[in-house]
Symmetry: C2
């Protein structure tokens, strides 16, 4: 019933999380009602996004272009500390506190919720390799404070300790069952300061 | 903190209705995690959408390409009837009932909620012109059954009656204060059948 190009875009939008078909129709209609210039900027920016944003080959955070991300490239940041998170959005949340000056490692998920195939995609071996290469003194396991995140943390800690590094976990200032990404900055700050041995 | 291309896309998504900044971050991250091929199809389809979808020069519904929309081009549809709606999404809702075989006219809004400048953009004079050109016997004013929609309907009816056409309004099977677009198809069907003189 909709013109073909309109219908196709609705399908793209309804495939996004928390967007239903009705909402997708409204979003696409909103785009259509914008000035053409705005829409063309959207097209260009989406194109740039598709071309330019990649995983950092070192920490698997988001990175502009092919090289390492801005945090890995930053020489002022301590490479003796690695903060392990599930998701790139967790990096953003921790960066906002301005209380952490080490590097990151983005796993891309946690152990329990995934199928065997998906677990294979987690960047766990890459983390062990970074630690084995030496120079790392502490790994802060900042997976979410949920059962799945705790399982992942315990698994990582067992292996990492054999490599002779200090393994810490964020203090439970964060309410259990919550989500790091949505914690307020003060809670997250005190959680970084109050971290303790696993 | 996000890579530049990522941040720009977040801004585009947060400018959409009912999408906040946190949700925009999640949507863009979801796009990033998709296969590159899917993302490239999204880019292409958005490009096609920006290039191809236009207003129909006759009824101001959505149209693929520069010409008239598929409904205006369809010779099986009666051109003696025009159904006036506020929004292209209302056309879709009415088409789904399969009970209407005439043409449409999309106003692009209603009278009361808009500034003087926005009222000037409503396709009201274009509607009068279509009726003046002759051949139209009935105009169904299917603006939303709200105060604003009723005001618009009364305004249109006063003028259209002087042009010698029958003017009807959808029956109030639809709950007053509701939204045509969200009415279920049976309610909307009975509303089309129970229409009455203004």
């Amino acid at each position: 019933m909709f013109p073909k190009s309109f219908q196709k875009l609705i399908e793209h939008f309804s495939s996004l999380p928390s967007v239903g078909p009705k909402m997708a129709e409204r979003l696409v209609l909103h785009l259509f009602k914008q000035k053409k210039d705005n829409l063309n900027v959207f097209v260009k920016d989406l194109q740039d996004f598709a071309n330019n944003v990649n995983f950092c080959p070192c920490c698997y955070n988001l990175s502009e272009g092919q090289g390492e991300c801005s945090i890995c490239q930053d020489k002022k940041r301590k490479s003796t500390m690695i903060c392990v998170v599930e998701d790139p959005l967790d990096v953003i949340a921790i960066e906002k506190t301005r209380r952490y000056s080490g590097k990151y490692h983005v796993l891309g998920g946690n152990l329990s919720v995934m199928s065997q195939e998906e677990i294979g995609k987690l960047k766990i071996n890459e983390l062990f390799k970074r630690v084995e290469e030496g120079g790392v003194r502490e790994v802060i396991v900042a997976t979410n404070p949920t059962t799945d995140g705790d399982t992942t943390a315990l698994y990582l800690a067992r292996k990492l300790k054999t490599l002779g590094v200090r393994v810490t976990r964020l203090a439970r200032g964060i309410p259990t069952g919550g989500d790091i990404e949505y914690a307020d900055e003060i809670t997250l700050s005190s959680a970084i300061e109050g971290r303790r041995e696993v």
